[in-house]
Amino acid sequence: MAERPEDLNLPNAVITRIIKEALPDGVNVSKEARRAISQAASVFVLYATSCANSFAMKAKRKTLNAGDVMSAMEEMEFERFLPPLRDALEAYKKGQKGKKEASEQKKKDKEKKNGTEEHDKSREEEEEEEEHMEEEDGENEGEEEDVEN
């Protein structure tokens, strides 16, 4: 599970873009300032993760969820982030749902092609079960990665 050191930092290009878009035209950013902001962003991730994780642990959950992160933001005194974060989360969830439906549609189309008519019934029932589970555990389906240390 060894991560290359440079992987623990966020891409310079993206950080630079975010900074530029936040500042008025005509303002420049020195390389050192950019670097410091990038480092600060990494520290922010670590701090937020640690904070969010303590909420998850308090609730006796092993999986960090979005609510934990929201609680962490409050704890860290970044309440101002909450409204835009909630909006972003909604948009993200919609996007994920669309993605899932698209891939399920693909699965169905594929099966149609294969012409497995006789197996279809039992298959469909299974699929529906899976679908149901996936919707419930939307967050957990194959998206968790075992963080082994």
């Binding site: 900074i19 993760t49 092993k62 992160v69």
Partner: protein
């Protein structure tokens, strides 16, 4: 390891991790940002925010790559599992944080009648603004 600061309890562990990350960052500071250009293949399925998303047509909601955010999160030994949503929200929050600190630092540059943001402006902002207190002593 645990200290009480202003009524809140902090574990200091993330600070140690921060030190590691910041130090290692000194190596990867070249403009040759290879990971910015190529997306790590294996992480495709959870990077809903990537412009090269395999599902196609999925709009980019986060600018920071979720794979990298997750890699950072994994530095925390206490963390077992993280939902995809939580990774996304942390990515988003980090973007908001970058915007915020850049703007706050700008105030100091403007006070110094400068149009270029410098490291010292960051240091000033960190010292002056409560929300940035967690950064004290963590940057190079």
């Amino acid at each position: 390891m645990v200290s009480v600061l202003g009524g809140r309890i902090y574990t200091r562990r993330w600070r140690d991790m921060a030190a590691t990350v910041v130090e290692s960052g000194a190596l990867g500071d070249s403009e040759l940002d290879r990971s910015g250009a190529e997306e790590p293949r294996g992480e495709g399925e959870e990077d809903g925010a990537q412009h090269t998303s395999p599902a196609g047509g999925h709009s980019r909601l986060a600018k920071l790559p979720l794979s990298r955010i997750k890699a950072l999160m994994k530095a925390d030994p206490d963390l077992s599992l993280a939902s995809q949503e939580s990774v996304f929200i942390i990515a988003k929050a980090t973007e908001l944080f970058v915007e915020m600190i850049a703007k706050d630092a700008l105030v100091y540059a403007q006070q110094g009648k400068r149009k270029t943001l410098q490291r010292k402006d960051l240091d000033n902002a960190i010292e002056a603004i409560d929300e940035f207190a967690f950064l004290e002593g963590t940057l190079d």
